[in-house]
Amino acid sequence: MHALPAFLIMLLGVWLVASVANQVFLLFGFARVRSYPNLNWDRLALIPRWIFWSAPHAREWQLLYRDKLTDGGMTAWRTAWTMPRNPFRWIWNPDIRRWKAIVDFCFTLLSLAARDGRQHKELFVSWAYVATAVYISGIQPVPIGGSRQFMIATMCGPESHQNPDILFVSPLFSLTGVEK
């Protein structure tokens, strides 16, 4: 057998074995039998994690923001983004990526914030916080001399027992730094 075919077969074989092993670890982790190994090195997600939609979060998170104006007044909270109505979303839905990104920002941020039960310094240099702050500051220009803050909240659902809840409120920040 030539080198290329042998290499390709070996590549697929190793990939499959690694994938099967990862699913076993994943399921053990999911069942809390043993902790799931850190796969942070696999940034391309080459080793698949096939547990899609097995533990979806039960409530929708909403990302809101408001501005502090130069006169000290605060604007009302505004929604950063809402899913637009799209009758063709079964075949064409770019907004699902937006939603996934925002959900991921919120999830990571809330997990980090819950770790110590308070907002610690590391939180504000974490990727999730920086990404959310950059996104929020880019939605529309921050008033000159003003600053902005964001909030993660759960929405009031159609089920009668679901009440809205505030989960995280960031400090005021401007593009030049966090306001003390």
Partner: protein, 276 residues
């Protein structure tokens, strides 16, 4: 032992290739339609994303990655990816498919770096499909080609089976609350939510049906007939997901693997029950 590829093998691989190309073209068009999110202040800002790769930032690769993933050049890469996918779809350069697949795979991997936080199981399946198809078209060797077909089939079976077992372990799935509550999330179809029965037992039955289907997916290899039945259920599930949760890319990636799962079932059947 000799390995031969039948005309059916070639037809099924081509069907998979076409679906992958269609999914790539639609996915690329989706990214271009929200190109403002790829700017430095967007959700997929490379300036922010690159900070989560400290090792790369300290290496010489940083400059190369900045050049490829920065704005707006990343959008040109996506355009190249779309163009390659369209060439596959319209059978331009049919004998040079590998040279069309490689740029698609390369840009796909770049996008995994650029917006890993917005990626999901569809993107992982897309990686598997693209890499395996690249292996298939890289060489005429029939052993490699069969290996690529089986690799995709086994990964597909592994995907459904793992997901099914994880759902068994998930309390909301066992209780039957997931389907209705998922429709209340932002991508959920609210009209469908209103139509869904509110009876807890019926919802639990629907959830158990999804779990049973996913756990039973390996049975697709038991015979070509069983395979067709299971794949039909799979297609219906993905169509439902596309309508209910607005996730059409699942339809193009997972269903794209179905012709190859069918081929594997045929292979196994002819191996276990040779006709002559």
């Amino acid at each position: 032992m000799t390995v031969d590829l039948s005309p059916l093998d070639v037809q099924c691989v081509n069907a998979t290739l076409m679906m992958v190309a269609a999914g790539t073209a639609i996915g690329g068009a989706e990214i271009l339609s929200m190109r403002q999110e790829c700017t430095d202040h967007g959700l997929f800002s490379w300036k922010v994303a690159r900070t989560s790769y400290p090792l790369i930032l300290r290496s010489h690769a940083a400059g190369v990655l900045d050049m490829l993933c920065g704005y707006p050049q990343f959008l040109y890469a996506v355009m190249l990816q779309m163009l390659s996918a369209l060439c596959i779809l319209f059978r331009v350069f049919p004998s040079h498919v590998i040279y069309l697949l490689l740029p698609i795979l390369f840009v796909h991997l770049l996008s995994m770096l650029r917006y890993s936080h917005a990626s999901d199981g569809t993107d992982q399946m897309q990686t598997i499909l693209l890499a395996s198809l690249a292996c298939y078209f890289a060489t005429p060797d029939p052993v490699v080609r069969k290996a690529a077909i089986w690799f995709i089939s086994l990964q597909t079976i592994l995907a459904y089976c793992t997901s099914g077992i994880a759902k068994v372990l998930s309390k909301p799935w066992r209780q039957g609350t997931v389907l209705r509550s998922s429709l209340l999330l932002a991508p959920g179809n609210k009209t469908l939510y209103r139509w869904m029965p509110s009876n807890a037992r019926v919802n639990q039955l629907l959830c158990v049906a999804v779990i049973a289907f996913e756990c039973a997916f390996p049975l697709a290899l038991t015979s070509p007939r069983n395979c067709l039945v299971i794949l039909t259920f799979g297609l219906l599930l993905h169509l439902f997901n596309a309508v209910a949760l607005g996730i059409p890319r699942f339809l193009f990636t997972f269903v794209a693997a179905y012709p190859l799962v069918f081929l594997s079932a045929m292979d196994l059947h002819s191996l276990l029950f040779p006709t002559h």
